[in-house]
């Protein structure tokens, strides 16, 4: 079911790389898992059961934000690279 090409494509989507050396083994393990969960495809749900999911997400109303700057230093400490309180990253948009 799953090919190495598909695995590579999924990996790219997920921003992960599967090394060529692992690709064969990974794909065959992946394939076996897909075969197992594939039993759901054949599963016939009882008629009329569109089965509305019993779970729903719950969000609270927006509240007042906390005082500015409370957590800034704690968070900025973890930045891989910082300039003052800002996070330094590669240029995203070029203007060539």
């Amino acid at each position: 079911m799953a090919t190495t090409e598909e695995v590579k494509k999924l990996a790219a989507l997920a921003r992960i790389r599967v090394e060529d050396s692992e690709l064969e083994k990974f794909t065959s393990e992946f394939d076996a898992i897909l075969a197992y969960i594939g039993q759901l495809e054949k599963l016939e749900l009882p008629k009329g059961e569109t089965a509305k999911p019993a779970l729903r997400n719950v969000m609270r109303e927006d509240g007042e934000p906390h005082a500015g700057g409370l957590y800034t230093e704690k968070l900025a400490e973890q930045f891989p690279a910082r300039e003052g309180n800002t996070l330094s990253v590669k240029q995203i948009i070029t203007h060539d």
């Binding site: 921003r15 992960i16 393990e29 076996a32 968070l75 891989p80 996070l87 590669k90 995203i92």
Partner: protein
């Protein structure tokens, strides 16, 4: 010592908070090099110890005051590293306390350290930790279970009084069964997930790992409650009021699920436990839960889907493992590839697959629908019984490397996932021991390994779990 025993001894002045802490810390330092239950053993928090002693001296009622606990490495303690046993978060320092941590600190509890786990809670053996596996104190050639293997081993080896783990598909209950202790997964929404590193948000719950049922109840009461920081937490009575535990309990057994695959002696121990309950006056009834045979497949669609979403935030940009390549895309790919272990990457890809446009209906939506049906089946079963029972696992603790094939490992959770899918509370309680050949003791020798019995109750009916579990505990102490 249990929480109850330690609390009594502290108040009777047989031991001080400092002495209790030192005893746990020393045991932890002595045994951890072999067991690897802890990723980090914390230094004594002098002010917390002093404050706890003062509260006890002044007659503070909180049973958890001064009690040393262990926390799974995916629960945030402000200022401490929380790595979820991964390279990705190896040096990440929590910037806030999890709500359960805040509650425990308010109760005066102390933290011995952060315990080992399968990376990002993905596994059933703790072999997927980025920092080495934990060993089962009953037989160090075997796994303690997972993903809360470190917490379970720490409690079973008396390196702490009790511990917290997290349970997404069985990760508190299965290691409890494999190490011979109690493991509870509360009703979905009863314990706040704020400060728990997310795995599968519709499945995750923090739960206690303890030596006794009473200890589990004490910890459960301390950590539960509505939390504005987790809007999915629920108020008491949401599911129709507190059911008083009947004196005679009806225990439902889905015999059709136990026809094959369960080890013969595990099944025999299970049946013997049911017999003991029957002798105490409780009724054993047959129940039908047909969708259970597809539960594991549904779980391995829904959970990876939620995992792939939840772990998208770990991108090497703002915190955590940050690898830098030539382009921004390289930064993401390198950080994530290096920061995530094999099982984590596998599940992210699985989740990406089942959510992709060609497959989402066949897999994800189907799994979601079967989840709803499973829940209906359980609710129907609860019309004829108070709790549903089966063995927690098919077999006792397995050897390291025995379940190298991912699918074989997934099958460890075949019974436990149903409670996460339905959101119902569930518990694993020690039900006895089975024998297996030992490698460490020499040829011909065998080792006794614990096995657990698993109970599920309706939503918010944890009292039924405690009631039936106490009966099992009593029957075994006779």
């Amino acid at each position: 010592m249990t929480i109850v025993e330690a609390a009594r001894a502290l108040r009777a002045r047989e031991i001080t908070v400092r002495e209790l802490w030192d005893a746990c810390a020393e045991a932890a330092h002595t045994k951890n090099p072999e067991l690897n239950a802890f990723l980090e053993i914390f230094d004594a928090d002098e002010s917390a110890i002093a404050s706890a002693q003062k509260r006890i001296d002044e007659g503070d009622a909180s049973l958890l005051c001064g009690i040393p606990l262990a926390l799974k490495d995916n629960i945030l303690i402000e200022g401490k590293i929380a790595s979820a046993a991964s390279k990705m978060l190896e040096n990440y320092r929590a910037t806030y306390d999890a709500t359960v941590v805040k509650k425990l600190k308010d109760a005066g509890a102390l933290f011995v350290g952060r315990t080992n786990m399968d990376e990002f809670a993905m596994g059933s053996s703790t072999e997927h930790s980025a920092f080495g596996p934990t060993k089962n104190p009953h037989d160090t050639s075997r796994v303690p279970g997972g993903s809360s293997g470190g917490s379970a081993a720490a409690v079973a080896a008396h390196l702490c009084i009790a511990a917290l783990g997290s349970d997404t598909g069985g990760s508190v209950r299965q290691p409890a069964a494999l190490t011979g202790i109690v493991g509870l997964k509360p009703t979905c929404g009863v314990v706040s997930r704020s400060g728990l590193i997310a795995m599968g948000s519709s499945l995750d719950q923090i739960g206690p790992l303890t030596k006794t049922i009473e200890d589990a109840r004490i910890l459960y009461e301390a950590i539960r409650g509505v939390d504005p920081l987790d809007s999915t937490t629920i108020p008491d009575g949401l599911y129709g009021g507190v059911l008083a535990s009947p004196k005679r309990l009806r225990v439902g057994v889905p015999r059709h699920l136990l026809k094959e695959d369960v080890d013969a002696d595990v099944l025999a121990t299970f049946d013997a436990t049911l017999e003991k309950l029957a002798r105490e006056g409780h009724t054993i009834v047959d129940v039908e839960l047909p969708m259970s045979s597809h539960a594991l497949a549904a779980y391995y669609v829904i959970m990876p889907a939620e995992v792939s979403t939840n772990l998208a935030r770990l991108d090497g940009i703002r915190y955590g493992h940050a690898s830098r390549g030539d382009t921004l895309l390289d930064d993401y790919i390198l950080s994530r590839t290096e920061g995530f272990g094999e099982e984590t990457r596998r599940r992210i890809l699985l989740g990406t697959f089942v959510l992709s446009s060609g497959y989402i209906d066949a897999y994800y939506r189907k799994a979601d629908a079967s989840r709803a049906i499973l829940r209906n089946e359980y609710e129907k079963a609860f019309e004829s019984c108070d709790v549903v029972a089966f063995p927690t696992t098919l077999s006792p603790a397995f050897k390291f490397g025995e379940k190298g094939d991912p699918l074989a490992m997934y099958l460890e959770d075949i019974f436990t996932v149903t409670a996460n899918l339905t959101g119902m509370p569930a518990i694993s309680v020690p039900m006895g021991f089975v024998e297996r050949p030992s490698t460490s003791l020499g040829a011909g020798e065998s080792v006794k390994l614990p096995v657990g019995i698993h109970f599920t109750a309706p939503h918010q009916a944890e009292n039924l779990l405690f009631a039936v579990s106490s009966e099992v505990e009593k029957a075994h102490s006779k």
